[in-house]
């Protein structure tokens, strides 16, 4: 394609091609400290293209393509080209990843052990992971945690942290000196702004961590917590994994090993301060 770049997030290499310069320039800027794909060979290709040739210039809109596609992906305006690139990379992972079991979870690491946080969109898993990153944890990813069926270890996928709506203001205050993408207003998910993971999280992104605690956070409720039994954990994680079925028995083994070996709690929290205190306490008690 006319413009392209390559980058690696955790163990996964991407090549992103685009009809326009702007999205690629933005990726190059925001991912400037990320490595190249191993041996220069990407795992996945992403294409950002104009569905009709005049859409390159006239109300330019970005169609998402790549090795794996969904037929009815709606195009995004060129001003949201970064979001289109991020969505397209996520899509390759969701539809094409075969090496790791995808957990729809954010993950942070401390002392070689991983904390996984999973939940519906809006539960706060991205925000919590970003907050913990500013408090000494290593960010392993805000969207996907990769469970290796061969080892039971969690591999990180620390793409740009996708913050939505109120979470943007919270993190602009918390992550002083953070590097940010442009404010993207009027996206299908409201206002979005991408925060670059801190230098330490990028530098250590190849280090796997042993899963030690799993949390199911819910934002907007009185503080509460309850134990989540392995069977509920299993069902919730399979529902949120796009490649559990594809991985077959190795996915089954990996996930049963995870839910039997790792304690899990559901936590409700009214504000971020309560959430952080709860996470730290549960970590010291259980991990």
């Amino acid at each position: 394609m006319r413009h392209s770049t390559m980058l690696r997030i955790g163990p996964v290499g991407f090549r992103v091609g685009s009809d326009w310069r702007a999205p690629v320039a933005l990726l190059d800027e925001l991912y400037r400290d990320y490595p190249q794909p191993q041996d220069g060979i990407p795992d996945f290709n992403v294409r950002l293209f104009a569905a009709r040739f005049w859409r390159r210039w006239l109300r330019p809109s970005v169609q998402i393509g790549g090795d794996f596609v969904i037929p009815d992906a709606a195009p995004l305006p060129l001003a949201q080209g970064l979001l289109a690139a991020e969505m397209a990379m996520n899509l390759q992972m969701a539809l094409g990843q075969r090496r790791y079991l995808l957990l729809h979870a954010s993950a942070v690491e401390r002392d070689g052990k991983a904390l996984l946080m999973t939940g519906e969109s809006g539960a706060g898993k991205s925000t919590l992971a970003a907050l913990l990153m500013t408090r000494g944890w290593r960010l392993m990813g805000d969207e996907f945690a990769l469970l290796d069926p061969a080892t039971g270890m969690i591999h990180g996928f620390p793409r740009l942290i996708s913050l939505k709506n109120e979470a943007i203001g919270v993190m602009e205050h918390e992550a002083k000196g953070g590097r940010w993408g442009p404010l993207l207003e009027g996206t299908p998910k409201g206002t979005i702004r991408h925060l670059v993971p801190d230098a330490r999280s990028i530098a250590a992104m190849e280090l796997p961590a042993a899963p030690a605690l799993m949390l199911f956070p819910s934002f907007g409720f009185e503080a509460a917590e309850r134990e989540v039994f392995p069977s509920e954990c299993f069902v919730r994680l399979t529902q949120a994994s796009t490649n559990y079925v594809t991985l077959g028995e190795s996915g089954f083994d990996a996930l049963t090993g995870l839910v039997r070996g790792v304690p899990a709690r559901a936590i409700d929290y009214p504000d971020t301060k309560t959430a952080i205190a709860t996470v730290e306490r549960l970590w010291s008690e259980l991990a």
């Binding site: 039994f229 392995p230 069977s231 299993f234 069902v235 399979t238 028995e249 049963t256 039997r260």
Partner: protein
Amino acid sequence: MTRYRAAPAATLRIVPLDVLTLVYHRASGITHVVDSPVPELLEVLGEKPLTLDETLAALAAAHDLIDPDREALAARLDELVAAGLVEAV
């Protein structure tokens, strides 16, 4: 008379978790999340094919059934046959 037997043991991965049990069916690649009496049924039907009444008797003997219900058991067995976890022979 219809007899029932569990799918061959080599095709089932049975992992008890807590109140629920996971059954991975290698032949179909499907994961079943099951409650009692399914794990118990797969166990008693694993040795040799049994009729409905023999299955009921074996379950009652092995698991102290308080209220054996023949029709409910027949319904459960039909579901398991449809899922491929039990064969009707």
